[in-house]
Assembly symmetry: C2
């Protein structure tokens, strides 16, 4: 009955794919994350998935459509979880059990990424890495398909952060959310600039360690005043 279909509804939890299609999705996910869309061939994917080459064009329409399916399979449950976190936060506040503070908002998007990273059955860290790729590369088809759901999520987070930092202009809120998201995603994706061209002292793949270091950093950054000093509580 919805005139504008959304990825984020109850249907996103049903297992929609046959075993062959799932094996294709799994293999494609691994390879897209590792090498990117263009650098991964359908023959690599079907070989890793141990299925026939034509199965890709049978179950999914094309290579691009396969990429969309790979992304959407993880995106929908993740976005759903984010919305639940936000709902729970606002319910707690409405019930008078505390106010919205910056850390609560940050945790509303750190927790879903953290949970995902620890759950191999949902691809583990794969989705976050894929997301960080989509962030850098330009996949116009994806933008069009997901702009509605993503826009809704951003609006919700913006509102929540705005209530946690009522003194800031909405433009400032948008910037801090942007930067905070950026830190979290790239940290979970393991895009470590320090070890880019070699070794690093930091082993940035343990989700617990990531949360431990990222959350204080982001909370402090979001709470900063314009002159770099923390805001007076």
């Amino acid at each position: 009955m919805k005139s504008t279909p959304s990825f984020i509804d109850d249907s996103c939890l049903e297992p929609k794919y046959s075993e062959t299609a799932t094996r294709i999705l799994d293999a494609a996910e691994r390879l897209f994350v590792e090498f990117g869309l263009e650098a991964t061939s359908l023959r690599q994917i079907t070989q890793q998935a141990a299925v026939n080459l034509a199965a890709v064009n049978y179950h999914f329409r094309s290579k691009n459509a396969l990429f969309e399916a790979v992304f959407a399979r993880r995106f929908a449950p993740w976005a759903r979880e984010c919305l639940h976190e936000l709902d729970a936060l606002e319910a707690r506040v409405a019930a008078g059990q505390g106010t919205i503070d910056v850390e609560s908002v940050v945790m509303c998007y750190v927790r879903p990424a953290f949970a995902l990273s620890k759950d191999p059955s949902r691809g583990g860290v794969m989705f976050v890495r894929l997301f960080s790729r989509v962030l850098v590369e330009n996949h116009r088809q994806l933008r069009e398909k997901l702009s509605r759901d993503w826009g809704h999520l951003v609006t919700r987070y913006t509102d929540a952060l705005g209530r946690a930092l009522p003194r800031l202009l909405s433009e400032e809120i948008a910037w801090r959310l942007h930067l905070g998201f950026s830190v979290m995603f790239h940290a979970f994706a393991g895009n470590d600039i320090l070890k880019l061209f070699g070794r690093s002292a930091v082993s940035a793949r343990d989700p617990d360690l990531i949360v431990k270091h990222v959350v204080p950093f982001v909370v402090a950054g979001m709470s900063a005043t314009a002159d770099g000093k923390p805001s007076a509580a």
Copy 2:
């Protein structure tokens, strides 16, 4: 006479390329940044550069070698500038004109990126965007070629930040540097998560605006205590 050649020496400032080679580099840079290495064909590049297809394999050995050349042309002067910033900071401190504080260290890597972004003759924002791509994609050849110079830069920044935050363990220092770099690069590269799948209130392409918003965020994040509150000055 050097046994281990480095990209960062005086030779990196000389114009090494003929006009044809330069046109190839410029076109390749634009396209690599926009679409990535694999999604860009040599025919696209030579067409945009208005040169013959074979010129690429004549001036540069191969497509991969061209990519390295594109990157190295911008990386070397940028890294040089970073080192100058660090040298200047340490010289100021040695002369007794103040101490190393967090903002000074942050500015040591924000300023070169800012200067680059405002200078079209050095490709403007192209290099930062290219760098953010290299950060996500896996270009092993680049890693091997640049690991020495990059490692040196990281060591210098780590030392400086360690002096600005003497109470923190070296592991903590590495994490904050990692996260701070991440924010700055992706902000300058314009990888805006908020506008990922649609419109955004933030127009994140003006370098002055980026500095204005990123520096306070990063400085506050780096100065945070483990519990999310800013450290006592």
